[in-house]
């Protein structure tokens, strides 16, 4: 069964450094998302992306965050200057449409900021 893949599985970064998290969505999906989950807490929406532009973003997704689909297969999340509170599990998801189909999640990238 097709799946969403994310790399790396674990990223350790010094505070203030830039980090790029990578995702390969399911190939025929059109809608892409990033979510994060701070340890032990619920999953929070960051941003959705369709047709090469951001569709929606949450309050968490401030100017330090950006997303890109550089080559038609990868979907990346960049955090420009990481903070300690950015430590979380980041999940990429994709969906075929924005209606009846569920969003399919990757295994996540655990981001640890030191």
């Amino acid at each position: 069964e097709p799946e969403v893949t994310q790399t790396p599985s674990h990223q350790v970064t010094q505070m203030g450094q830039e980090v790029i998290l990578r995702c390969v969505p399911i190939s025929n999906h059109l809608y892409f998302y990033w979510y994060r989950q701070i340890l032990g807490q619920k999953v929070e929406f960051l941003v959705s992306f369709y047709n090469n532009e951001i569709s929606e973003k949450s309050e968490i997704f401030d100017d330090q965050f950006s997303v890109e689909r550089p080559d038609g297969s990868n979907f990346t999340l960049k955090i420009r200057s990481t903070k300690l509170e950015d430590s979380a599990m980041y999940f990429c998801a994709s969906s075929l449409d924005r209606g009846h189909q569920p969003q399919h999640f990757g295994d996540g990238t655990r981001l640890s900021i030191l």
Binding site: K42, V43, F45, S48, E56, H100, P102, F105
Partner: protein, 110 residues
Amino acid sequence: ELKVEQNPLFLSMQEGKNYTIYCNYSTTSDRLYWYRQDPGKSLESLFVLLSNGAVKQEGRLMASLDTKARLSTLHITAAVHDLSATYFCAVVPGANNLFFGTGTRLTVIP
């Protein structure tokens, strides 16, 4: 403020027993999702509920949706150890972003 509250937050139940997890939400949403998360793992889609009165069943799990009451339930029948996980409901307050509930951590004990 949008709220999606699940009840209970923690559930320990014996194998073979039945129980229901509740998901209350404070905004209108034309659909509701249930996901399962094993420790340290990703989220697995269980159910998509699309209309008032919708009921879906898969194995020992059955989900229902009452949009008027803004309530969804996830019923577990004759629990087995493999069902131990955290279960999240999620609504759609915007175009397509999921707003997740607080989660219910289920532990099934022999």
